[in-house]
């Protein structure tokens, strides 16, 4: 069960070997988390993340392998992860995503389709199964990692940003639908984070490290706010950016 500060004991992380997910898992384990089931596509990386969770205080860890391009497998993945926890699941982190190299794939229909599956369809199908299980439990939390890229989609990454925008908006409706069920959904909208995913990108303002993101997540779980921005100032930055006139927006996002 989670405590008064939103600190969970039993956690499932989908996309558990990503840098942001690992940073969040570490902070959770340092607080109250003792059982962690990590799902991802690479067993070696998952094992590293699981060992790290134990180092930070988890007493029971397990892993589940999945491929986020295989949409039909999403519900099975969620089911396996819940079964491996074996008791009440307090928090499910959905950290599945792929940035991709847009210029290399935007003319390739099958690559675009894959991009949509990983960033949108697979997470949505997984969320359907997560929702069903948590509502039956009578309590629990879902943290979905969106992105500030979803707030206003930019030309150099419209595939990633567009898919995240779909996920982000869908989750807002899903969160509302969960009122009164004891289950809560929160969105995390990080800005650019220094991680494996963003290696080689040109630097932008308000870039943070993964630990800062994880710290903002811990605070957000405590306060229960619907959308957790990281860093928090981006809430105000994007309140302005989303209303920039289109020509100006195109100009400032021409090469980023």
């Amino acid at each position: 069960m989670e405590n008064a500060f939103g600190q969970p004991q039993n956690v499932v992380v989908l996309g558990g070997s990503s840098d942001i997910a690992r940073a969040i898992t570490k902070k959770l384990c340092a607080a109250r988390t003792h059982t962690v089931v990590l799902a991802g596509r690479n067993q070696t990386l998952l094992d590293v993340a699981a060992a790290e969770a134990q180092e930070y205080g988890a007493t029971k860890t397990d892993t589940v392998l999945f491929d986020a391009t295989d949409v039909a497998d999403a519900a099975r993945t969620v089911g396996d992860a819940f079964d491996k926890v074996g008791e009440h699941v307090d928090l499910v982190v959905v950290a599945v995503g792929l940035l991709g190299d847009q210029r290399a794939i935007e003319d390739d229909a099958s690559a675009v389709s894959e991009m949509m599956n990983v960033n949108f369809t697979w997470p949505v199908v997984a969320l359907a199964e997560i929702r069903r299980r948590l509502v039956a439990q009578g309590s629990g939390r879902i943290l979905v990692i969106s992105s500030v890229a979803s707030v206003r989609v930019r030309r150099t990454m419209y595939l990633y940003g567009g898919a995240k925008a779909g996920l982000d908006r869908l989750c807002q409706g899903l969160a509302d639908s969960l009122e009164g069920t004891g289950v809560r959904l929160q969105l995390l909208r990080p800005g650019v984070v220094r991680s494996r995913m963003t290696q080689g990108q040109s630097p932008v303002p308000f870039t943070t490290g993964v630990n800062e993101v994880a710290e903002n997540v811990m605070r957000g779980l405590g306060s229960g706010e619907r959308v957790i921005w990281s860093p928090p100032v981006l809430r105000y930055v994007f309140a302005i950016l989303r209303h920039l006139p289109a020509p100006l927006w195109r100009k400032v996002t021409a090469d980023r």
């Binding site: 069960m1 500060f5 600190q7 607080a31 008791e87 405590g222």
Partner: protein, 444 residues
Amino acid sequence: MSRATLAGWGRTNPSVASLTTPRSEDEVRAQLESGTSVIARGLGRSYGDAAQLSGGLVLSNLGLRDVGAIDDHGVVTLGAGVSVDDLLRASIPQRWFIPVTPGTRQVTIGGAVAADVHGKNHHRDGSFANHVREMHLVTPSGAFRVTPHDDPDLFWATVGGMGLTGVVTSVTLQLLAIESDQVLVDTERFARLDQVMAAMVERDHLYRYSVAWVDCMTRGARMGRAILTRGNHARAEDLDAVDLKAPGDARLGVSFDAPSGLLNALSVRVFNELWFRSAPALREGEPQSLSTFFHPLDGVRDWNRLYGKRGFVQYQFCVPDAASDTIGDVVSRLSSSGVASFLAVLKRFGPGNASPLSFPMPGWTLALDVPVGASALAGVLDDLDDLVVRAGGRVYLAKDARLAPERLGMMYPRLEEFLEVKRRVDPENQMTSDLARRLQLVGK
């Protein structure tokens, strides 16, 4: 049966369960036969997650509200869902008072048993269970009449047992004879914590009731300044005219959630300052009504909503006399961390009772309310737990919403005795709660 979102008085971690209100012991028994996980719930005044059960079955005891006749010796049998308020409305006009009352009348007798509640007279009269003669308990392995003599293990595991041995359906209680509805109160103000503690050690034995309000926010020379109020029931000869009025209804209510953050370090500091300025340096023999003296917060309905949607936690711990320094350590830790805490309540405890999970132990207890919101709070309270464990003390489960499970056994060293009795009457661990799961008290 309906689906309901249930939370404790602190409103921090709600969960959804099936809720139903059995009207008799037989109906309680029938509900337990369903085999699903069960916990009983009264008026929801435990602060944390003790009376809720995510995805399970919650049995409201509010269908069991029979108040029996009070016999010549002040013995009365009450349905578990009778509130202290219900009881006092019936008993005060007949010159009987409840032997132990918590700070609110809005608790049920069943809840008072489950939490083994204490009052301002613990140093003298012990906790609630000390005055219970008999109770009826429905467990997964059958219904029992339990007394301290017939099955002492089950009796003492059930009092303070947080509802985890079964569902209490009725309680037979020894009441306290009174001659009036007034308490004669002495009030003293102290500039420092050590002064008020010395005064309590020296003279608490002269009073049936004693409690101090301590400021945990002021730093420096006035750290831990306090107001001590002590009193005894007024006898007929102390008063010009004897009245025996039952308590009235709350005159005020909070009908909406205040914005989270209304009660912050600044506003609480201002409140504490005003409170202290309004108290007299010394006033003796002031007659106060029973309600004013025992249940001041009952004047405002739903006052917990002042803390906003995020809610609040109450941290209450006790430490043995030998570790009385811990009280000062905690107050100084709180005042230096800038946590917004209202005046904390400081009391002396007398001897504990035979219950393995009952909270009180001879020494001191301090309780304080803090709004959830400050991101440092979780860690500050974990640090306080360490101080309390080192001192050989414990936190009160009826208030808890955040204790780490590994500290439970350190605070309650007789936990295994409790679990042994539980295994006897509830081998499948059907009786459980969100609190029991969070503290890994009884498996899943």
